[in-house]
């Protein structure tokens, strides 16, 4: 068994454990056993047809990914959650995933474009598509008061403190 095939089988088992977690034991075990049986049948059938382990792995992963939405809806049906709520959550999750993928792709592009590998621009990482404006120089400090003016101020303070 290749690493790809082992990873594909492990992914299906892990996902099945996740979406059947905390369900009624009879329903949970039935679904897990059914998926386990399907994995075994698919593997044996594909091997008998002479498919490569990588081909079998791709087939398994595709069947897993394409059915994720239905798995979640099935869980919602079993737990009597309103399907509309689940559908909205699925859409929100899909949108968030798209934004994340876009952000990751832009970030990787930005990092790749930067020739200095040892200094990563954090602002660019957070806002990859926004051009980073150069920071304006700080204004010059006000000029120090003249020596005589300082002296007068000191005298005024002394006089005010010595008065009863």
């Amino acid at each position: 068994m290749t690493i790809a095939l082992a990873a594909a089988l492990a992914s299906v088992r892990a996902w099945t454990r996740i979406y059947t977690a905390r369900m009624e034991p009879a329903v949970r075990d039935a679904r897990r056993s059914e998926i386990e049986s399907d994995l075994w049948e698919l593997h044996e059938d594909a091997r008998g047809r002479g498919a490569s382990p990588t081909g079998i792995a791709i087939h398994i992963v595709l069947r897993l990914v394409l059915g994720v939405g239905d798995d979640v809806l099935w869980r919602a049906e079993q737990l009597h959650v309103r399907p509309r709520v689940v559908r909205e959550a699925l859409w929100a999750g899909a949108a968030a995933s798209l934004v994340f993928v876009w952000w990751l792709a832009s970030t990787l592009q930005a990092v790749d474009r930067d020739s200095r590998v040892d200094s990563i621009d954090v602002v660019r990482l957070l806002y990859p598509m926004r051009p980073v404006a150069s920071v304006p120089p700080l204004p010059a400090p006000p000029p120090l008061p003249a020596r005589s003016a300082t002296k007068n101020l000191e005298l005024r303070i002394k006089n005010s403190s010595s008065r009863p």
């Binding site: 039935a30 049986s37 399907d38 059938d45 059915g67 099935w74």
Partner: protein, 112 residues
């Protein structure tokens, strides 16, 4: 419900070939091998549809005797059967499909 119909049709086809009972992967393979459709039935989609069909009374299922998978060193199968209601649904769908095709065919050969 195209997948549900495809499952029922595949179940009817398997029965014509002598397989009264079928398991999940068998139906996925039959659907995938059909000449007119090329569907990749995802795990979630297939088993959700099977559960729905069973709830509707078009399919019936049972777990095979545990001694058989133990002897053959494989996981146990959940075996499905097409019910009389499922049979009727397949016939009805076939008739509806034929009726939808017929007027178009008639129109094509109508004299100008």
């Amino acid at each position: 419900m195209p997948l549900e119909l495809a499952i029922c049709e595949a179940a009817a086809a398997l029965r014509r070939r002598g397989a009264d009972e079928f398991h999940g992967y068998q139906i996925a393979r039959t659907i995938g091998d059909a000449e007119h459709v090329r569907l990749l039935t995802a795990y979630g989609t297939l088993y959700r549809a099977l559960a729905r069909l069973e709830k509707m009374g078009l399919l019936r299922s049972r777990w095979e005797d545990p001694a058989i998978p133990a002897r053959e060193n494989r996981p146990g199968r959940r075996l499905y059967t097409l019910t009389a209601l499922g049979d009727a649904a397949v016939d009805e769908a076939r008739r509806a499909a034929e009726a939808a095709v017929r007027p178009r065919a008639r129109r094509r050969f109508a004299p100008a």
